[in-house]
């Protein structure tokens, strides 16, 4: 039976790329997947898997989600029922307890920690470009087919701080350890743009589609 994968539309950035990446990853694996972009709480309740992209500031994205009546509640409800969830970039950041960009804003609290401005020395911000992933091979389904040292595309100035080691799947190095992927139960997220990370990103999106947490 075809699975329904919802990409949540809350007026944030480039949703089309995430949807196309998921569709291509599905085709490659011969999966029957219907990817749809939606802001409708009822449609979200019928989704088998949920992807939350996000670009821009934490506070704006959190506000964007809340501005659509019933959307956030439907998302929380469906995820609590066990639907696999993938947050991308700010979508991943929203999984934290709170964000500190433009004031303190609560997140979903699905993983421990807060989204704080990255501490850098001489490095430039945003952290923009391709950086290496570091992780324990075999530690999570989403990492299947990847090797430590594979590159992913990052664009961000804020990152997860104070996370639980067992919720951090992968890190990268930019003036020290930066959280690159998190997971807790049926909820996972990538700080980098999986939908813009060529083969590495498509592999992760494909893994998400067959992930049974």
């Amino acid at each position: 039976m075809s699975q329904r994968v919802a990409v949540i539309d809350y007026q944030s950035g480039n949703l089309a790329s995430a949807a196309r990446g998921l569709a291509l990853a599905a085709t490659r694996q011969g999966l029957e997947v219907e990817v749809f972009i939606t802001a409708d709480p009822d449609e979200l309740r019928r989704a088998d898997r949920i992807v939350l992209p996000g670009q821009g500031a934490f506070a704006d994205c959190a506000k964007g989600l809340e501005s659509i009546s019933g959307l956030k509640a439907a998302l929380e409800e469906r995820v609590a029922q066990g639907a696999p969830f993938l947050g991308i970039c700010v979508g991943m950041q929203l999984m934290a307890q709170r964000g500190l960009e433009y004031g303190t804003t609560p997140g979903f609290g699905w993983v421990r920690g807060e989204i704080a401005r990255m501490q850098v020395g001489a490095e430039r911000l945003p952290h923009m470009g391709w950086n290496e992933l570091r992780f324990e091979p075999g530690s999570h389904k989403l990492l299947d087919g990847l090797k430590p040292g594979d590159h992913a595309y990052f664009v961000h100035s804020y990152a997860l701080s104070g996370g639980r080691p067992d919720e951090i799947l992968a890190t990268t190095d930019y003036a020290g350890d930066v959280v690159a992927m998190v997971a807790s139960g049926n909820r996972a997220g990538t700080q980098f743009h999986a939908e813009k990370s060529q083969e590495v990103g498509l592999t992760i999106l494909g893994n998400f589609l067959t992930w049974t947490p």
Binding site: R20, A57, P126, G129, E132
Partner: protein, 255 residues
């Protein structure tokens, strides 16, 4: 470690590539989508489309190009040229662009950068600066494709754009553009020292060592058009040269 970005730039006019690689393998060398897919396979780290469509009637042709490219290429895509307002940026982002590069419109109305950064986030907002040397150690901002002097100092302008929310500076030396003499390293060093943002160097590359010099001057992105289009260098050769100089590059992924 964060890698340097090698960024081929395609000039697009009325939806067609103006200068492009003329490979026999291409069905249609004028199709920006085919060119983009080629650079994607060749290991480019990002792609930039510069829309040089003159007539406003044909402005929307770039949207179709972006849309079709984003369907095929899972690589960050920047689009510049002809962006006047936030609504133009929104259309490009919805079509599949990841970043919008603004030049003249920011000069006529600098608040555009604040509005864009607030609406889409700084990571989407690239400010393109066309610079020409006016005195030793001084550069002036030019607008309208480098045709109009503005009287604005490049370093002041870069700082102002950073303060207004730009996420990246695309810096083109008008003195070097098209000369093949290499990036203007003095200019690059000055701008990289003036802002904390990533700076993409553009204009003047003619030899492989020029890419190395651009990175050594502080640029984290290296953009070039002609040397790639006319097949002078491949992206792989550029990365090899950077790597040989001890600079960090992303090499093709071994499967």
């Amino acid at each position: 470690m964060l890698k340097l970005r090698v960024i081929p730039c395609l000039d697009v006019k009325d939806g067609r590539v103006v200068k492009g690689v003329n490979f026999v393998s291409l069905r249609d060398a004028g199709d920006p989508v085919e060119q983009a897919a080629l650079y994607d396979k060749a290991g480019a780290d990002e792609l930039t489309f510069l829309d040089i469509t003159a007539s406003s009637d044909n402005r929307d042709t770039i949207l179709d190009v972006v849309h079709r490219t984003a369907e095929k290429v899972f690589l960050p895509l920047t689009v510049g040229g002809g962006i006047r307002q936030v609504a133009d940026m929104r259309r490009l982002l919805l079509a599949g662009a990841d970043k919008c590069s603004v030049n003249s419109a920011a000069i006529s109305r600098p608040e555009l950068i604040n509005e864009a950064a607030e609406k889409f986030g700084s990571q989407c907002v690239v400010v393109a600066i066309d610079a020409r040397q006016s005195a030793p150690g001084k550069w002036e901002v030019y607008s309208h494709g480098g045709r109009k002097a503005t009287g604005i100092d490049v370093l002041d302008w870069a700082r102002q754009m950073q303060a207004r929310g730009a996420g990246e500076i695309l810096l083109t030396s008008m003195d070097r553009d098209g000369t093949g003499k290499g990036f203007d390293q003095e200019l690059l060093k000055a701008v990289c020292g003036a802002v904390r943002l990533p700076v993409v160097a553009s204009g003047g590359v003619g030899e492989l060592r020029h890419f190395v010099e651009g990175a050594q001057a502080g640029a984290t992105g290296l953009l070039a058009a002609s040397v790639f289009h006319f097949g002078q260098f491949t992206v792989a050769q550029v990365k090899e040269a950077l790597g040989a100089a001890g600079l960090p590059v992303r090499l093709p992924r071994a499967i």
